[in-house]
Symmetry: C2
Subunit: 200 residues, 2 copies
DNA sequence: TTTCATACTGTGTATTTATACAGTATTAAT
DNA sequence: ATTAATACTGTATAAATACACAGTATGAAA
């Protein structure tokens, strides 16, 4: 898919925002107003560019006839994470789900598909999607996504300071993970906001 | 809140459907077309009635300027169910959540807040919201919402025929529940489609 | 009985809106 | 060096749209 220019990206974001806030797509005039364009035709041309690149669909002859191509919408689901790759790298995104609403306490940056049973005792089981916010300011008690030497893991944060980090699996068959962040490569990738599970 | 007439209700439903399918509210003409009105003014008058009754907001001078009042949108969350009352009775609905998207395999009629630990071993814990579809055609293996003599419970359906129903808790501290539907008052309220959990 | 809400048709029109065409200037690609 | 895409202004207009006013008919409420 073709890349967007900065301006095009801003406009796509604006359209998406208007749809979620106002419940309908903006008119050319409203776009022009927002960006200070003196001619609605500027908006028209940006829309054509976005349409041509496949990011939106324009419905000719229809007022507010703009729909956003769904494959760019929605929250990515991160499946298996290739060692050392950024979590949100395209190769890790297995699909996207349309998802809006105020279900979780903060905005969801991505969903991570759970592997293994290390969190079974708090009701997080294999295959579950956990909602992640990319914040780094986590505190003990939070369930976190952490990266230890290129491996990504989900655990409860038990202790965190400059010398020592303790991650706790919620399953008595597993032992606590103790890390020295000054020696090992350690990073907090985000905080778990909640769980989504879909039975078939 | 004032009651809607059958026609008004149909129109409200149509508006809601158009918004979710087309991504924008319909015009008066589109409403008239759908219902076979020969004049767009019929749609106009229904919209005014819906606005007056508080179900929608009309944005004057704006094409497709219809927004649905959010307190009627969203999926109800059923909290504690008063014995013998219908699940979706107003007094059982603790709130509603805005929720759209194709997250679950079927449409969600309501969310039920889980009480107790009888389903712990399949990752359904106290406080979880489980997504329910009101179907009655459930099969063994499904997690179901059942009503036994005015009590509502969530269990795995293990066996179902005219003489005997077995509901299985997913926790070894609990025993199977065996019901004779010809003697006891038994009803399937719905099927569990998935789980939603929100950490704070 | 009279008023009011509902549920329409039919006509008309001011505004809103999409969208084409003609320009100008800047930057990226060939 | 030349072309094409980007990013705008400015003007114009056909079509889409909201919405008012004038009717007709029915049933429910006061």
């Amino acid at each position: 898919m073709k890349n967007l220019t900065r301006r095009q990206s801003e406009i796509l974001t604006f359209i998406s925002d208007v749809i979620s806030n106002e419940g309908m797509p903006p008119t050319r005039k409203e776009i022009a107003l927002k960006f200070g364009f003196k001619s609605a035709n500027s908006a028209e041309e940006h829309l054509k560019a976005l349409d041509k690149k496949g990011y939106i669909d324009l419905h000719g002859g229809t007022s507010r006839g703009i729909s956003i191509n769904k494959s760019f919408l929605g929250i990515p689901i991160v499946g298996s994470v290739a060692a050392g790759s950024p979590l949100l790298a395209v190769e890790n995104v297995e699909e996207r789900i349309e998802f809006n609403g105020n279900i979780f306490s903060d905005s969801v940056d991505y969903f991570l598909r759970v592997k293994g049973d290390s969190m079974n005792e708090v009701g997080i089981v294999e295959g579950d999607l956990i909602a992640i916010n990319k914040r780094k300011d986590v505190k003990p008690g939070d369930i976190v996504v952490a990266r230890i030497n290129d491996d990504v893991t989900v655990k409860t944060l038990f202790h965190l300071d400059k010398r020592k980090v303790i991650l706790r699996p919620e399953n008595k068959n597993y032992k606590d993970i103790e890390i020295n962040p000054s020696i090992e490569n350690f990073d907090i990738e985000g905080k778990c906001l909640g769980v989504l599970r879909n039975y078939n």
